[in-house]
């Protein structure tokens, strides 16, 4: 779904919650007259379960779209191996192969992206602008952060992840 220039994605989890509560509400309204009398606010409430995630996704996507050009200018091309905890807060750009994709269904995907020097977690707090799958060769732009804000190994807080036109070569030259 596109709102303005922003591609909005509803997570499968939000849809599942909406469907489950719809089924509950239908069943309850069939068997209970008390529920039927409350439908006037329950049905809008039900739709809010879908609308709120859409609005939140739109807001986060549009924010990311705003900061993307800034990061694009400031980020430095680095190898994964050179990313370390002294670089916390630095914008970086890496190129590599997507080894794993997790939590895509929550619209909070986490990718393991690896280049010839090693792999790193790439966390995104919204849905990416395009669908990314395992074995895609991607360019990641983001900021180096700690995995759990104040502790943990360095990971990339991803602002943009895009497929690039390159053949996926051997993972590591070892």
């Amino acid at each position: 779904m596109k709102i303005g220039n922003v591609e909005v994605k509803v997570s499968i989890l939000a849809i599942a919650v909406f469907v489950i509560f719809t089924v509950f509400l239908l069943a309850a309204s069939v068997f209970s007259t008390g529920v039927r009398s409350q439908l006037i606010w329950m049905i809008p409430g039900l739709f809010l379960l879908l609308v709120i995630p859409i609005v939140l996704n739109y807001m986060s996507r549009s924010q990311y779209a705003d900061v993307e050009p800034v990061y694009d200018i400031e980020a430095k091309n680095v190898r994964v191996k050179l990313i370390n905890e002294n670089m916390i807060g630095k914008p970086v750009r890496i190129e590599g192969v997507v080894e794993k994709v997790r939590f895509q269904f929550l619209n909070r995907p986490q990718f393991i992206v690896a280049d010839r020097s090693g792999g790193i977690s790439v966390k995104m707090f919204t849905s990416p602008s395009e669908d990314i799958h395992e074995h895609d060769v991607v360019e990641v732009v983001g900021m180096v952060i700690r995995r759990y804000v104040v502790v943990g190994d360095p990971v990339i807080n991803c602002v943009s992840i895009k497929r690039i036109e390159k053949k996926a070569g051997p993972a590591k030259d070892h």
Binding site: A75, K76, N77, V78, R79, K81, L82, N84, E85, N86, M87, K90, V92, R93, V97, E99, I112, A114, R116, S117, G118, G119, I120, S121, V144, R147, Y148, V151, G152, D153, K166, K167, G169, A171, K172, D173, H174
Partner: protein, 281 residues
């Protein structure tokens, strides 16, 4: 190509800590069973202290690892939540303790296999450890000849580069080269400064990798951590010699700074994990 589980600068932790987790948790549950079967009239919650202590040990084991496991770190909180409120039924308490002990054991195995080894403690006297120590020891003789001022610049170059302040690297490197003039040091150090300066500038200005770049000479090989690679692009257009030159240069400057500028050692400590990672194959 996956992220290495065991980070550089890690060590083997005494196995007693690993054993404490199942011993304390299952021990507490076993004690609860004994108390219950013998009809001893004490509050079974006391036996849950084993699970609470085991959670604390597990959280400690998670804390000392470079890669933190938030699940293991938060187990003491869950232990308090589960066991602070008394259950009316003794059987339920025992089953809860047993299930909790099993969960902690599974988390311990997960921690050991997915989150690597604990971070190495800094030895007495602040010596380096592992392959990095071996490399610094191997280059000690050549590095010790470097003037302190040049070694200080070498340390600054490594620190600036490690922090991603690429724009600050070339001026420091050129100062280092100037300090080395007429010092009689091995030419590899000058080349190391040149390589890092060139690549830092390329990174800072987001330029593409050049096909012609500064590199070490064959005569420098004895001082390098990695073998020299020829300038040659593979079928993907990737030239491994470019990255190898930077890795060797950074490691050589780290060794020089560590050996010949003792005042910079506390600062270089912050780049130790980085240097160890660069040294990894």
């Amino acid at each position: 190509m996956s992220q290495p589980d065991v980070h550089a600068g890690t060590k083997d932790f005494p196995a007693i800590y690993d054993l404490l987790v199942p011993v304390l948790s299952f021990g507490g549950a076993a004690l609860a069973i004994l108390v219950w079967t013998n009809g001893i009239a004490i509050d079974l919650r006391f036996t849950a202290a084993g699970c609470v202590l085991a959670s604390v040990v597990l959280a400690y084991l998670a804390w000392v690892r470079p890669k933190k496991d938030i699940v293991a770190l938060t187990t003491p909180i869950y232990a308090l939540i589960f066991f602070a409120v008394p259950l009316d039924d003794a059987v339920a308490t025992i089953i809860l303790e047993l299930l909790y002990a099993v969960s902690l054991s599974i988390l311990l195995v997960r921690l050991k296999y997915r989150f690597g080894k604990p971070a190495a403690a800094i030895p007495e006297g602040g010596a380096l450890v592992g392959p990095l120590k071996e490399y610094v020891d191997r280059t000690h003789q050549a590095c010790a000849r470097m003037p302190t001022a040049a070694a200080h610049r070498a340390a600054l170059v490594v620190l600036r580069f490690t922090a991603g302040n690429y724009g600050d690297v070339p001026p420091e490197a050129h100062e280092g080269i100037r300090e080395l003039e007429g010092s009689g040091c091995a030419p590899a150090f000058t080349r190391a400064f040149e390589i890092v300066a060139e690549q830092a500038e390329i990174t800072e200005k987001s330029r593409p990798r050049p096909s012609l770049y500064k590199e070490f000479a064959a005569s420098d090989a004895a001082l390098l951590a990695r073998p020299l690679l020829p300038k040659k692009k593979n079928e993907d257009g990737y030239d491994p010699g470019y990255d190898a030159a930077l890795d060797n240069a950074l490691l050589l400057l780290f060794a020089a700074g560590w050996t010949a500028s003792e005042a910079d050692r506390p600062h270089l400590r912050t780049a130790e994990a980085f240097a160890a990672k660069v040294l990894e194959e």
